[in-house]
Symmetry: C2
Subunit: 421 residues, 2 copies
Amino acid sequence: MDRAVVEEVCSLKEARKKVLACVRAQSYEVIEISQACGLVIAEEIRAPKDIPPCEISLRDGYAVSAGDLSGGGSTKALRLTGAITTGDKTDISLTPGSAIKITTGAPLPGLADSVIPYEDVEVRGDLVFPMKPVIKGQYVLRPGSLATRETIVARRGDILVPTTIASIVDTGKAFLKVIKKPRVGILVTGDEVVEPDYHSEDMSVFCSNRYLLSALVKNYGGESIALGIAPDDEEILASILEMEHLCDCIVISGGTGKGEHDCVKNAWRRLGIEIIFDGVLMHPAKGTAFGYKDGVLFFSLPGNPLASGISFVQLVSVALLKISNKEFESPPELVATLAQSLPAGKDGTPRFFWGRAVFQESELTVWPLGLEKTDVLSQISKANCIINVEVGAKNLPQGSCVAVHPVCLSSNLGYLTLFGQ
Amino acid sequence: MDRAVVEEVCSLKEARKKVLACVRAQSYEVIEISQACGLVIAEEIRAPKDIPPCEISLRDGYAVSAGDLSGGGSTKALRLTGAITTGDKTDISLTPGSAIKITTGAPLPGLADSVIPYEDVEVRGDLVFPMKPVIKGQYVLRPGSLATRETIVARRGDILVPTTIASIVDTGKAFLKVIKKPRVGILVTGDEVVEPDYHSEDMSVFCSNRYLLSALVKNYGGESIALGIAPDDEEILASILEMEHLCDCIVISGGTGKGEHDCVKNAWRRLGIEIIFDGVLMHPAKGTAFGYKDGVLFFSLPGNPLASGISFVQLVSVALLKISNKEFESPPELVATLAQSLPAGKDGTPRFFWGRAVFQESELTVWPLGLEKTDVLSQISKANCIINVEVGAKNLPQGSCVAVHPVCLSSNLGYLTLFGQ
């Protein structure tokens, strides 16, 4: 290692700051609202008018004026003089002592202020007999009760959960400005690495890294673009990177050895990508490097999937979240109780472990995985989070509280693993 | 209401049992592994051979036999006799007192048992001088340490989180059997209901229900199919339902009034759909009904989006989860602390409120929304969960513990709302 490289090694906290400082504001796109779930809205939505614009019946029944019934008790009969069905456009009005048949969702006729549901009346011929006292305003949705004109229904930067979408549709809006998802190119390096189901010799290593990183991209709101597998050749690597101006971020795994084959940084230098840091004080993945050019973020992660996934969550994730206009100093975390002790690490270096976290009653419990270094694949296969052991922590006994970063959210049923599935 | 209908009203617990009893086993499909994130695997995955199949270098450096260095101390020189690069197929072997240059991921040469990283040696000409003591086996990945042949890497029924996918790729598998996502048809009824951005008269109501229910379908692992908007006409409704044999489940919102316009159940009767229950003891959405025919589940939900969303989460969600082979007696829930008191309800009826839940340190706090019945849209717009108030609960003061069902998971960044975004 030469001296320049040593100087560029930094703490995880510093590294995250440097990464966040390079993120520029993302542009927006206009999409159909049915595609908007979980995206970040880039405009403010106001009600264009009072919603509802007039009094609306909340039941199938009879529109009445409560005043007609207040004098003579609840048995007084009303004369049925018409009907209003939902969707009707009508100027019909009550006359004193009358009732008008009405359906749920229909506008109240003039002079009516209350609705009596079908089940609360008796009808004989054209006479309607209320069976219960009528409270003025009952079963009526008041004008503007859902929203008054100019009320803000959603704000710029809100995340579009199901009810946000429904409220926006209620204002009549079908298209929305949202922040574009960050596009993340994923490039795997290594002469020995092949795609799965390649009819390989025994020495082949499958590019599990690409699939792991791609799934993690989704977890932090990005869209992954497979840039394929590159040989350990800085010229070829540079030519691939040069073509990728369509990405907001390029993640390269492997090719980071300290020997002659450290071709990622050499390729970056060829392309004039500024190396912002080269090495982070963390375990594992201390070889993680970060470069920047023309608004594109470049991450060089270890070739070992277990380490590269941790590096991704600790550093790439906060960049992706900031591109989506959500700034976090560290990846979103929950507090969990250790189900098993964890060994002490070196002072001054935070350590990370894969884990499986499960909510039990109101408490999150986490099991560290793969500590034994045997049967690693079937252990790690169960991981739904990364356990974060703080700088300077000693041996952590069972029952200790630790921070965990869940990596099972955001696609289909992954979150159910937190519920013990 | 006639007597038959009254008899079919049941408790929420009974209703869920009846729904679950109608769910039949879902078929599987084969998909490319990059599309598998968050789905449920329908086959068992075993390692086809030891992984790795031989000893592999974990560093760029020099392959050596530790025994060559154990006698004469750590300064003994080794003669450089060759090089192995990752991906090479070579039968090269160490000779006593020699070292072979090696890259990360390359197979160890014969007779080598340890790797010395570049940074821990000095090289002069063809002599390699180790600078530190060498521990036998250092920086070497042992055969079968990731998985031994026939080890189970993933089990039938596992949810495919990012590391499950990576572990499966490590076995060389590119295609997977997964349980098909439930297909949920969503039909909105009402003569007055229109799509948003329709240039409507003032009386129009937009079909926010369709968008709300569609977003909720995603949250519980399903795929939604828009069946459009139907008028309040049982004949037309029946003709639409009859065509929908491609769905596992059909959800209809609206058209459930107790008056003459209760056309959903009439349409069901026309089609020979068995009405399993008609009415559930819960608030809101007590008009929820459920029918069954030929393996397809039919739900009739209220027309009011706030009520229909609650009904969906309480009843449809458990059906969708069971179709995905995940059986829950009630929707997945977390325990939260009430940030604001909730009013008492009627005994014997569980009550539900929309809420916004946020993790603060290790505790989940929830704010009930829309209690005031004013400005409802901008209130409900923020909801990321449903608050479940148990049967018989009295007034719940601020600080009480309640169960909440999150409805913000599983698509893009929705889950960040639980982190205060």
